[in-house]
Symmetry: C3
Subunit: 203 residues, 3 copies
């Protein structure tokens, strides 16, 4: 495991980005302040909750107040500065991508540690990273956006594959962590910058 | 803990009210009798199920048939007397509010007993009380009503705060229970009677 | 328990049918290849996952790769032969019905083994069989079809009742299994062939 402090820092960036994406979606639906808070909360912790329930491990945000505080503060700031959020668009995209990468890698790592077969570990990492956003969209009565925007999840799948592949060699696990995290982040940035998407399956 | 019989009695009132709110929503969507039964069931036990899964405790309705019987009988009666339900509007509102208060307080209590930090306990109580209604609305393909009607959940949050605050003093736990339950019930009744809602966050 | 190989074979037929029903629903919503895969996956494993979470037992597809492989291959074939799927309509209906029966019976059996009261066991079997399809429809932003098409779930309820009733006598458990599985399958086929539905509850 990489140093705890760096992971915590990246995790908080991810929680901030996921919360704010929840705020933006729920405000578009004219929800009240409580609805906004709940959607932000569920977007930020949904993936990790499903991960922990399926692995039958303690649900992480129940014990660690960092998550709740980060979400509440992010929601408060996002509501106060709602007209300014557009200027932060690029930073938010970056934080969101960092969160995506981090939750993928942590999900794969937790599943591997629980002796889950590799193919399922990769599905698991992808799910941990994406499920919060899926819940956000279901609760807002929309078809989840990731089912239509495939590079989002494809970046998680490829990052998970890299993590698994590298973990088979005697490479320091910190490097495995950093490299696969970077793969997810780079792939998503490249896909957005160059507007890459997979070929359509429809004929 | 207050006497078991009173809690059981209040719990059954809550299950009746939640089931019937499920029946009303699903009938508005022209569901068949099976759909109506399922939606009633999920509305009544959804919050408690999520609570027990997250705390990794046995799911209560799996072992205790009181819930299933109460739900089945409520659904049967609600379907038979569907044209008369309007006369019961006030009683149903009262039962629903009792259920809301009871599930909040029981949720906070179970979370505190599991050594969850206080802020999460209050979120937990609110979630236990509101999640059945959220599932009811998602399954009926609507945006959950509590995300637009804030006093509903706000009453739970304030009741949870009162429970936590009082439990810090050496007050008999029965009184803590009764007082915070009453806070939720009174707040919701006052909010509905005086049409109180929180100020809008939109500018 | 009946011989493992026959159950495995029926289970795979069920997974194939459920996956392909997921593919058909998600393609109708113009999802991308990742969305299609996820919806197929969730349709196939949703019911079993809820069953295992509620019983606090290990989630079966996390350890056994048969599910993941079957789903991935089914999705691949369904996409490649998307224009030919209509010719398979009858086989798919049969596989789907086999899956429905099998998941009902396995759900009832697992719940009985966990000492759950009989009424809940039957609800449990029905839920195990139907929940994947419910999730499929929610994720596709539709009201779950089983809430409108009652013979689907009614077949599960009656099959569950037969399983429970027969298991009270000293009948070989293999026969109980086969008979109640056949009840679900026959009821659904008869309901579809003769267009049977329960009387409406609306007046």
């Amino acid at each position: 495991m990489i140093s705890f402090d760096l992971i915590t820092f990246l995790d908080i960036l991810g929680v901030i980005a996921f919360s704010i994406s929840g705020v933006l979606t729920s405000m578009r639906k004219q929800m009240d302040v409580f609805g906004i808070l709940i959607i932000a909360f569920i977007t930020a912790i949904g993936g990790g909750t499903l991960r922990d329930l399926l692995l039958d491990q303690p649900v992480v945000w129940l014990r660690d107040l960092t998550y709740a505080y980060t979400i509440i503060i992010s929601v408060f700031i996002a509501i106060v500065f709602q007209n300014k959020l557009n200027y932060l668009r690029k930073s938010l995209f970056l934080f969101d991508t960092i969160g995506l990468g981090l939750y993928t890698v942590v999900g794969v790592e937790k599943a591997l540690a629980a002796d889950i077969p590799w193919l399922i570990c990769i599905a698991f990492g992808t799910m941990s990273a994406c499920f919060g956003g899926v819940l956000r969209d279901i609760l807002s009565n929309e078809i989840p956006i990731i089912f239509r925007q495939e590079i989002y999840a494809t970046a998680c799948i490829l990052g998970g594959l890299v993590y698994f592949a590298l973990s088979q060699f005697s490479i320091n696990i910190n490097w495995v962590f950093v490299i696969s995290l970077s793969v997810v982040i780079l792939l998503r940035i490249l896909a957005v910058v160059f507007k890459i998407s997979l070929p359509s399956v429809y004929r």
